[in-house]
């Protein structure tokens, strides 16, 4: 049975900080299908459209009937652990630093045999369920979990390594005065985060709920205005080395499109917060985060951008804001690539309309700040990279795949 992790000790300031290494990342293009599904938290394998044979490892043509019509589909993830071994030797630096490491062969009910990472609570011969997760290199790997949840199972090394679990980690929430930021603070503490740095972009503005939150000894108020380079730099210098997860909730949301707005001032302000703000944060917090990406059990693990589903396609009634979110999405892809060598995961959260004051006129369903916060926590715990929150976002995602032009027409209607 998994032993629960102990609270981390204070960092030894003299000891050398372990530098990040990554597990092997090369994959065939075909195998990237597994990564695509894992990034969304799904378990999919190729299934032959002609003969229904489930394929693994990923193939170009069906290993049974040679059809090239192989689609990635959700398949039964149950199986039996035929054999396992514990590595005490590895050819790869990443694994050498994490030995002993358990792997095994799982015979899936769906057909294939899968070489997988094996959770310690799975005895040989046991029934298991497979999940696919992104590892630190950003590529999908298969992990066999016990059929039913076991106590402290998330503390198993393979799950800890492939997730960004908030447990025992310290989190910076950039705008703690937003409804989303406050819901996140509570949810992350509930998930085991040891410290929340709660950003305050406007110390002159009194917000009752913010003031109440920072009474908690585990929450520390920090002045942080993402539109002010000096502010970002000062805060990063002060707490940057203690942040393991950064959640960027800073957002300037305003109504209005292109033609009817009389000037570009609001647009410029929105870009300053939503796009350049992300850039300032990345410049000042990113390097410290990356440097601590392999720093023991409480290593830096994730960067979370709270975007919007309208980052993918413009909502004309909030056209300028949508554009800023699209720009932020693009920038986040750059950040993701820049952070990949360290293993820091960049998680993009795409909620539908949020249930807060700036969406007063948006009809339901709207995503409550609490639901958003829980989705962020879940994505950290499960290592999901792209998170669609709420019914609007889920449906949007499907329609975007089905018929993007149709979706564009409907959003503009």
């Amino acid at each position: 049975m998994t032993q629960p992790l102990s609270p981390p000790r204070k960092k030894d300031p003299v000891a050398r900080t372990r530098q990040p290494t990554l597990p092997p990342s090369p994959r065939s293009r075909c195998a990237m299908g597994l990564t695509r599904a894992a990034a969304l938290g799904r378990f999919e394998l190729q299934v032959c459209a002609a003969c229904q044979t489930v394929q693994y490892p990923p193939r170009e043509v069906c290993g049974s009937c040679l059809s090239h019509d192989l689609a990635w589909r959700a398949v039964d993830a149950a199986g039996t652990l035929l054999a396992s071994t514990t590595l005490h030797h590895s050819n790869d630096l990443y694994f050498r630093e994490r030995l002993p490491w358990r792997v095994g062969t799982v015979h899936m009910d769906a057909g294939p045999s899968v070489v997988a990472h094996i959770h310690q609570d799975c005895p040989d011969g046991a029934r298991v369920r497979l999940i696919s997760r992104l590892d630190r290199s950003g590529q999908a790997v298969m992990i066999a979990l016990p059929e039913k949840d076991t106590p402290h199972m998330a503390d198993d090394p393979v799950l800890r390594e492939t997730s960004c679990d908030p447990k025992f980690r310290r989190v910076l929430i950039t705008d703690g005065k937003s409804a989303a930021g406050q819901a996140l603070a509570t949810a992350l503490l509930d998930a085991g985060a040891t410290m929340i740095f709660l950003g305050d972009p406007q110390p002159w503005r009194h917000v009752e709920t913010y003031a109440a939150l920072v009474q908690d000894a585990r929450i520390q108020a920090v002045t942080l205005d993402v539109t002010d380079t000096d502010s970002v730099q000062r805060t990063a210098a002060s707490i940057g080395g203690k942040v393991e997860i950064l959640v960027n909730t800073a957002d300037m949301a305003r109504e209005g499109g292109v033609m009817t707005t009389r000037d570009v001032n609001v647009a410029r302000d929105a870009l300053d917060t939503n796009v350049l703000g992300l850039m300032r944060l990345a410049q000042h917090f990113g390097p410290a985060l990356c440097a601590r990406a392999a720093d023991g059990m409480r290593n830096a693990v994730a960067w979370v951008n709270v975007l919007s589903v309208y980052a993918h396609m413009n909502l004309p009634s909030r056209g300028m804001w949508s554009a800023s979110k699209a720009a932020a999405l693009s920038l986040s892809q750059c950040l993701r690539a820049e952070m990949r060598p360290s293993g820091i995961r960049v998680i993009n959260v795409f909620p539908g309309p949020l249930d807060h004051e700036w969406e007063q006129l948006t009809p339901p369903p709207r995503v409550t700040p609490r639901a958003l916060a829980q989705a962020v926590v879940r994505s950290l715990q499960q290592g999901i990279e792209d998170v669609y929150v709420g019914d609007v976002a889920q449906e949007f995602c499907e329609r975007l795949a089905e018929n993007p032009k149709g979706l564009e027409r409907e959003l503009g209607a």
């Binding site: 054999a83 590595l87 005490h88 694994f95 792997v103 062969t105 899968v114 070489v115």
Partner: protein, 391 residues
């Protein structure tokens, strides 16, 4: 059951040569293969131009293939093959070359296998071994073949009751044999205490279950029996061969190899039975594969190899002489040459040139190959029955 297959009558294998193995080499694979060809010519008395067929196996020849090697060595063969089958390469090269000579497509075929081993080159070979390995094995701990065979070994032990002592007995017997073989890299005897107490690598694989990667080359010639006689070369007849790839793909984990599909034909074509074999040279990158070959090639019932191991000594002078030069476990694994090691030793046994490892009165022997853990199991299996040629 021989499907009307032709015999290999009239064609022989001659001149087994080995370029002595070294742990690490600063040379490239071309050097090792070139040395092997040189030694073949020296041993046979042939000129380079007499060799009109060439068959090459090597993991470290990249970016070249056998084609590039012809120019490097200044050869103009009219028959050329490149066999990337790892541990099955030796037997497969033999069966290809024999048919080529039989059909008249070539008169003399040089079969060469060799690899270099630079410090750290093994890691590169393993990480890029195959597409399936890259996508679906190497990211899982990067344990290389140790991890793959640990899983097969753990499963085999659970199924058959084989113990570490059983595997140890094979390893120790091979080490005893290796002490009689000049080219073996392992020069010291191995005891059961040392075997059992060795460093744990990847459970249940411990240090002495693993082969040592090294550099080296092995080679032999295939030609007509008449030509060999004219050259005065002691020769070995090929009674029968088989090969099979990706057998039993529906088995969820490997517990039998392709030999089981073809063993009956192997013996029928040779008009021999397992009891007629004076020795066996098996592919031994891990001891579990020895046991699988002993079972799958009919020396005992399936799952009974552990008992078979307890009943025999496997030494040169004992019962069931097995991997008489020490095998890869004690000689070293020189990449693709590992697939030739048993074959050249078999040829030495049957040409009476085995020296210290000579099995008395060896007339007939079996050589088996196993290669290429492409994903979760070895895909290539091959075997040959060879016999001393009456001059």
């Amino acid at each position: 059951m021989t499907h009307g297959r032709q015999s290999y009558d009239g064609v022989v294998a001659v001149c087994p040569v080995t370029i002595p193995y070294v742990r690490y080499s600063t040379h490239s694979a071309h050097w090792w293969l070139g040395r092997a060809l040189y030694e073949l010519l020296r041993a046979s008395g042939l000129q380079k131009n007499d060799v009109d067929g060439m068959c090459v196996s090597s993991f470290t020849l990249a970016p070249d293939t056998a084609v590039g090697l012809t120019q490097h060595l200044g050869m103009a063969p009219r028959w050329l093959d490149h066999i990337p089958m790892g541990g099955a390469s030796g037997v497969v090269a033999l069966r290809r070359a024999t048919r080529a000579v039989q059909a008249g497509d070539a008169e003399v075929v040089a079969c060469l296998a060799g690899d270099t081993n630079h410090v750290d080159s093994f890691r590169h070979t393993v990480s890029q071994f195959s597409r399936f390995a890259q996508d679906a094995v190497y990211p899982y701990g990067a344990g290389g073949p140790n991890a793959s065979f640990a899983l097969l070994t753990a499963h085999y032990m659970a199924q058959t009751g084989a113990t570490r002592e059983d595997f140890g007995k094979l390893c120790i017997a091979q080490r005893d044999n290796a002490l009689r073989y000049a080219h073996a890299l392992m020069k010291k005897p191995l005891t059961l205490e040392q075997y059992l107490g060795a460093r744990l690598i990847t459970a249940p694989i411990h240090l002495f279950d693993c082969v040592m990667p090294c550099a080296g080359a092995d080679a032999f010639l295939v030609m007509s029996a008449d030509r060999a006689r004219a050259l005065g070369l002691p020769a070995v007849r090929v009674l029968s061969t088989i090969e099979r790839h990706n057998a039993w793909s529906q088995d969820p984990i490997q517990q039998r190899g392709g030999w089981t599909m073809d063993a009956d034909e192997l013996y029928a074509l040779a008009s021999r039975s397992p009891q007629d074999m004076d020795f066996m040279q098996a592919y031994d990158d891990y001891p579990v594969i020895n046991m699988m070959q002993i079972e799958d090639l009919g020396f005992c019932e399936k799952g009974q190899a552990p008992q078979f191991v307890r009943d025999h000594t496997f030494t040169v002078e004992g019962s069931f002489p097995f991997n008489t030069n020490g095998g890869q476990l004690s000689v070293g694994q020189a990449g693709a040459a590992g697939g030739y090691l048993g074959l050249v030793e078999g040829l030495r046994q049957l040409t009476g040139t085995a020296g210290g490892t000579q099995v008395a009165h060896a007339q007939t022997g079996l050589v088996s190959g196993f290669g290429m853990i492409n994903y979760d199991r070895g895909l290539c299996t091959a075997a040959a029955i060879l016999a001393r040629s009456e001059v």
